[in-house]
């Protein structure tokens, strides 16, 4: 239901109003960071956030992301090995 896109905070524009610039694939837009600022807006610069309707709604946990990716990678490698084995079996069968 709710389009969310990862973006990186690149600059603060109006810390009092909790406004910052986020960059998404080279596109910049001002977003509200109230939900992710945790009292220290400047610390956000460089951080990845999940953006919805102009609000940064969640800080992306890069470690978690890396963990998921690693698991996926492992799965992928295993799959590739399996596929190569299957391929080799088929070759031999010919």
């Amino acid at each position: 239901m709710c389009l969310g896109i990862p973006g990186r905070i690149t600059a603060m524009t109006d810390p009092a109003r909790m406004m910052a610039v986020a960059e998404i694939s080279g596109v910049r837009r001002e977003v509200n960071i109230a939900c992710v600022a945790e009292g220290l807006p400047e610390g956000l610069i460089g951080r990845w956030v999940l953006i919805h309707v102009g609000f940064a709604m969640s800080l992306i946990d890069e470690d978690e992301a890396a963990r998921t990716l690693a698991a996926l990678h492992e799965l992928g490698e295993a799959q590739e090995a399996l596929e190569q084995m299957a391929e080799a079996d088929r070759e031999m069968a010919r």
């Binding site: 709710c2 389009l3 998404i24 694939s25 080279g26 596109v27 910049r28 837009r29 919805h52």
Partner: protein, 351 residues
Amino acid sequence: MNAIAFGALRDSHVTLSHGGGGKAMADLIETVFFPAFGPGSGEDQARLTADALCEPGARLALTTDSFVVTPLEFPGGDIGKLAVCGTVNDLAVGGARPLWLSAAFIIEEGCEIALLQRVVASMAREAVLAGVRIVTGDTKVVGRGSADGLFVTTSGVGVIPAGRDLAAARIRPGDVVLVNGVLGDHGAAILAARGDLALSTDLVSDCQGLGHLMEAVLAAAPGTRAARDATRGGLAAALNEMALAAGCGIEIREDALPLRPEVRGVCEILGLDPLYLANEGTMVLFVPEAEAEAALTAMRSRPEGQGAAIIGRAVAASEGGAHTARVQMVTSFGGRRIVDRLVGEQLPRIC
């Protein structure tokens, strides 16, 4: 401005007087249009001759488009460049060599005259690049709130040399689909340039004339079946239109679609699909398989075709009811989905 600074020539903005058929209008035309396009014939129409038109088998091509764009000036162009390129391209994609253009202006009261001059200069420049002449025109001024700054309508006359017959109906299964460059730049650049979505990008409209590119392609791939500029409704609209006319299916590969990251970004943010974004200098071309490489090479040898790519092919019409999909895309993920026409234009969405 001091007291002397009144009157037509010295006005900085268009008023209703400039459309009244009197001296102010003549001044506007003489000050803004003649320096760019050359003086008019003094008659109500341009009178033209071209040998090419009289060659046996040659046909005349006529096309028209009204241009309405906000903002009037945007990264990569303006409404004037658009108006020349758009009409030149509609001629070119049919295999016609563009010869003459007419240009009709509907100007909102209050329009800045300097802006008008820039737009007109841009039209003149683009006409020279395209090798066409703007030979006749018209100016209307409407009250404030009765137009959006400036509308430009161009019509184009060209000649289709004998023996050329580009038509979507000629597309056959197996034909290769090419585009001359990245998709969606114009649509995304305009969305960002409008400012109301507060997006900022370095995107530039792809607005450009395709006449010379088309001639180069036709020289290299004379068997070319059909072409279409992928304007309103984007690549998806052009492909659907052509598939319908051809009575066949089209299959494109998501992997093969040339797309800038910023265009993807704009689409992700606004929930849009780049296949439906407008282009103003991008065409889609159907070529028999044997000539596909030649067409690709010819494209890439010109600046307008630097980013050319083969994106798919025509396939046999699939069976099914009236709603059978004609255009399908193999996703980069290995799936397959229909690329249908939309109902209307895409609206930015949140879900």
